[in-house]
Structure formats: C-alpha cells, structure tokens
C-alpha cells in the first residue's frame, strides 16, 4: 500500500510541488508579515518548478492513484500551458495597479494563484468523476476569491459574487448530472463508464440524455460557451485585469482539457464496437456544433458595441472559445490537435493584449476605447504591439492567430463540416470589425484632451517581447508546435 502510494507520487511531482508551494506561501505570508515580496518569490519559484517538472513528464502515459488521474501527453500539454500562463500572469501582476493597491495581501494573491493552478493541473489529468468534481471546485473556489481580490472596489466584489453564484449553480447541476450517470453506469472512472454504456446498449435513454446535458452545462460554464456564458463579461470586466487574463486563458484551457477528455473517453468507442452507435447516444457532435456557432456569433456580435476594452476582450474570448469548440465538434485527432495548437497561440496573443490594456490603464487610468485615441503616435511600441496582437486575434497572416485558425478550419474541412467552417469564417470577418475599431482609434483619431504619456520601463518591455515574439514567430515557424500537438493526442484513443 505504502509502496504503491510512493510509486504513484513519483508521477505526481508537479502537483505535489504546487501543494507544497501553496502551504509555504501561506506560512511565509504569516511569518514575514509586512514583507509580501517573500511569499511572492516563493510562489513564483514553486510555479516554475511545477512547470518544469510537468514538462519533464512528456512521453509518460500511465494512470496514477487507481485511475483517479492520468499522466499522458495530452494532460502534460495542458499542464505546460497552464503553468506558463500562471508564471506570465505572476510577472504581469508586478505592474498591476489593482494588485499593488492591496499590496499587503499580495501573499494571499500568490497563494490563490498557486491553488488555482493546482486545480487546473488536476483538471487536465482527471479521469474519475469524483476527481473531476474536486478539481473543478478547487479551481472555481480559488478563482472566485481571486476575482474579488480588490475587495474595496465594488466592481470587483460584484464580479466575485456573480462568479460564485453562477459557478455554484452550474457545479450543482453538473453534480446532479454526474450522479445520474453514476447510477446508470455504476462506474466512477471514465473508461468504466464507456464500457458500461457500450455493454448495456441503452441508447436514447431519456435519463442518459438529461444527465449528459447537465454535465455539458458544467463544462459549458467553465469554457463560457453560450448559453452558459452570462457570468463571463461581468466577471472579466470587474475582476482585476491580471485575474481576467488568467481566467480567460488558463481556466478555459483546463476546462477544454477536461471536456475533451470526458467526451473522448466516454463517447469514443473501443475497437470492435459500432462507432456511430455510441457517439450518437449523446449526439455530442451536433450539440457541440450548435453550441459553437452560438458562442462565436454571440461573442463577436455583442463585442461590436463594447466601449470598454476589457469587456471587449471578454466577448472576444467567448468568441475564441466558440472557435475552439468548432474543432472539438470534429471528434478526430486533427480536431483535438487543432485545439491544442490554438491554445498555445491564444495564450501569447490574448495575454499580450491584456498586458497592454493593463499598462495603458495604469498610465491613463482608463480602459475605455476612447482613451486609446492617438495612442499609436504617443507610444509607438505599445501601439504597434497592440496592433499585432489584435490582428493575431482576428486570425490574419502573418501572425500566429492565422496558424491557429488554419488548423481548426482544415480539421473541419477534413471531416466534411463545410457549413460550420463557413460560419466560422464569417465570424472572423465580424471580429475584424471591432478589432480594427481599436486600431483606428489609435492611429486615425486625435485625443480629446492632453493625454497621459504611456512609457514602458525596460523590464516591462522585456515581458512585452515575451508575448510579442512568439505571436510573430509562431506565424511563420510553427512546425515544432504542430508536431508537439499531434504527439500529444496520438495515444489518446481517438482515430
């Protein structure tokens, strides 16, 4: 018993590192009161250790702790994405006015970021219903508090209230769905559920349909897919901008990892079983296709009217979730690989955009789109970088965003989802409109009054380059990324 636990622990190093870091940060926060830099540094070191050890797990493929979680290339890929996001957010927070305003509680902020990262790591690998719920909840509880971190600001506390109400309701509904699924199949691990579904030939049971929809609601909430997206704009606008950026990339990545693993493990049949019979039990592809169309279209159309850039990016992130859902629809290796590629690209361009919005808000005190008037002439580097990020978010060459979209669309066309690809392409055109509105304000409009200067320090410029260089380089040299993504889904049980 002890040996097996110890042996399993060797495959659980990144998560263990995060648990230890979390405790250390909390302790250091109490011991070194008034010197928040110390817990801060410990947290950063812990995240780096977790990221590196997660990356070292590349190539492993084995269940850990009696099929509670699994360490496979797919999980490792998402762990690396989450860890990279967490580290970059950590660095971004150094210049965030909102975080500095509550500098005394910086240790808490660090601890919560670490625990949210731990939850997302577990989400990436969870293969048991209980583990799925606990991982979702750990991520959720940490993010609820994080989004209310600047608790003196009423916007921030409103965001956290809305987040926890929507989050708790969707967890409850998902749990109810999971309990029905447990009753129907008698299994708690995903493979067992699939075998039970195959063996009992209970296609089209109304109870199965209800439970599937309830579980899908839980996932849909996590990745903010329409019609479970209502919390997203408010939370993203009210939360501190670093937290918004974290939620929009890491939380979404973990949600997608969990959703893809759940769908693939339960709805993809093992060899020798009629493929369509099991998939059609759930009718997942059609349902997800409709969800993705709604998500993209609503995200893009509502974004047109936004005047707060943070809120605009919130709607744009809903639209991006829709684009990635399109690739999930395909249920093929190419489709899942396209999601992985898209996430790496999305990480850099989206965090970059949020980073610049944060810096500009720090200098001008406003996230309003009007405060960007003439910014391109006042601060050339900021202006040009923001243009590159926005063009990449639209998905135009030669930026990385184009590569992300390219692989999504080619996966769709391979699988004959022509109408979905056309809707997706039309949506890219709509998104061009509101991204270009920002660019127009920066270059073609004169500022209303004497604007505050936006000056970057050396360190800030370096971090900007960390976002900017990959956004450009991945647009022209993407072969390693594509190979890595394909290798990460190759052993994943789908054809």
């Amino acid at each position: 018993m002890v040996e097996s636990v110890l042996q399993n622990l060797t495959y659980f190093v990144p998560e263990t590192a995060l648990v230890v870091t979390f405790c250390a940060v909390l302790l250091a926060d109490v011991i070194f009161k008034g010197r928040p830099r110390i817990p801060w540094t410990i947290g950063l070191l812990g995240l780096i250790v977790a990221g590196v050890t997660a990356f070292q797990q590349t190539g492993l493929n084995r269940p850990v702790f009696d099929l509670m979680i699994v360490v496979d290339p797919f999980a490792v890929f998402f762990k690396v994405i989450v860890a990279a996001t967490a580290i970059l957010i950590y660095l971004m927070s150094l210049w965030s006015d909102e975080v500095k305003a509550s500098a005394r509680r910086m240790g808490e902020y660090a601890a919560l970021l670490v625990s949210a990262t731990l939850g997302m790591f577990l989400m990436a690998g969870a293969t048991n219903l209980l583990m799925i719920v606990l991982a979702l909840e750990l991520t959720g509880l940490s993010s609820y508090v994080l989004s209310g971190y600047t608790k003196e600001a009423s916007d921030s506390s409103e965001a956290s209230l809305k987040y926890i109400l929507f989050g708790a309701v969707s967890t409850g509904i998902m749990l109810y769905g999971i309990s029905l699924l447990y009753g129907l199949t008698g299994a708690t691990d995903l493979i067992g559920i699939r075998l039970a579904l195959e063996g009992q030939a209970m296609t089209h049971t109304p109870m199965l349909l209800i439970s599937s929809i309830m579980i899908l609601a839980g996932f849909g909430y996590k990745i903010s897919a329409v019609p479970f997206h209502f919390w997203t704009p408010d939370v993203y606008e009210g939360a501190p901008i670093t937290v918004t950026a974290f939620l929009s990339v890491a939380s979404k990545a973990a949600g997608f990892a969990l959703m893809i693993r759940f769908l693939v493990s339960t709805a993809t049949p093992s060899l020798g079983v009629d493929v369509m019979a099991v998939v059609q039990t759930f009718e997942w592809p059609k349902l997800i296709a409709i969800m993705s169309v709604l998500t993209m279209t609503l995200g893009n159309i509502v974004a047109i009217w936004q005047n707060n850039l943070k809120r605009l990016l919130a709607y744009s992130s809903i639209a991006h979730a829709g684009t990635m859902l399109m690739a999930v629809t395909v249920f093929s290796q190419n489709g899942v690989a396209a999601v992985l590629i898209y996430f790496v690209v999305y990480l850099f361009m989206n965090l970059g955009a949020f980073y610049l919005v944060m810096l500009v808000a720090g200098a001008t005190g406003s996230e309003d789109i009007d405060s960007y008037k003439g910014l391109g002439h006042r601060a050339p580097l900021v202006g040009v970088s923001l243009v590159i990020f926005l063009i990449s978010l639209t998905g135009l060459p030669p930026t990385a965003g184009f590569i992300g979209k390219l692989y999504v669309f080619s996966a769709l066309l391979d699988a004959q989802w022509i109408w979905l690809a056309i809707v997706g392409a039309l949506n890219s055109v709509i998104s061009l409109y509101y991204y270009v509105r920002v660019i127009r304000n920066m270059y073609l409009r004169d500022p209303d009054s004497a604007p505050a200067p936006v000056v970057l320090t050396g360190a800030q410029t370096v971090l900007l380059m960390v976002f900017l260089v990959p956004t450009l380089v991945l647009g022209v040299y993407f072969a390693p990324l594509v190979d890595w993504a394909h290798a990460s889904v190759a052993l994943f049980g789908i054809r």
Binding site: A153, A168, I173, S179, L180
Partner: protein, 110 residues
C-alpha cells in the same frame, strides 16, 4: 389503494430518487425566484444535497459498492467550503453595496 400503501411500505430506489428530484426542483426554484443572495445560496445547497442523496441511493440500491457514499462525503465537504467562501463574498458585497439583493448589485452591464 392497497397498491399505494404497499408502495409506501417498501421504500426503494424510486422513492429516494423522487425525493432527490423534488429537492433539485425546489433548489432550482429558489435559485431562479429568490432575489436575496443568501436565499440563492440556500437553493444551491439544496441542489448539491439532491446530488448527494442520488449518489447514496444509487450506491446502495443500484451499484452495490461504497463509491457513491464516499462521493457524498466529498460533496458535503465541498458544499461547506463553497458556503464559507460564498458567505464571505456576500459579506464583502454588503459592505460595498449595503444590500444583498442580487437585482440591485448590477453596476456591470452592457
């Protein structure tokens, strides 16, 4: 009439499932109609407990292993953690807005 009596005298899976479905409905009703944030949270508790009851019932009558009961224990802990954090957030809301009516806490919107 006699059948109904017999049905009530032999509680089984169906009975528990009906109760949990009723709990779930009541919880959802509370979530949708109550405007007080605390009341909404109580509705959420009902939904979580409905799921927990389901797990116990299925574990006892349908599956025959202890997985269901164990998961319920976790759900209870989870509900407690969620309630603790939610109440802290509601307290914070009250300090900022001087109300816990979810309709009045609506400064962020399109």
């Amino acid at each position: 009439m006699n059948d109904i009596l017999v049905w009530f005298q032999n509680p089984g899976l169906t009975h528990v499932l009906l109760i949990s479905a009723a709990l779930f409905m009541l919880g959802t009703y509370a979530i949708l109609t109550r405007r007080n944030a605390i009341m909404v949270l109580m509705g959420i508790e009902l939904v979580l407990n409905a799921a927990g009851l389901n797990f116990v019932a299925f574990g006892r009558y349908a599956v025959g292993t202890f997985d269901g009961q164990v998961i319920t224990l976790f759900i209870i802990v989870l509900a407690a953690a969620e309630a603790a954090i939610a109440l802290a957030i509601v307290l914070n809301i009250y300090q900022n807005f001087h109300t816990v009516n979810v309709d009045e806490i609506n400064r962020l919107k399109d």
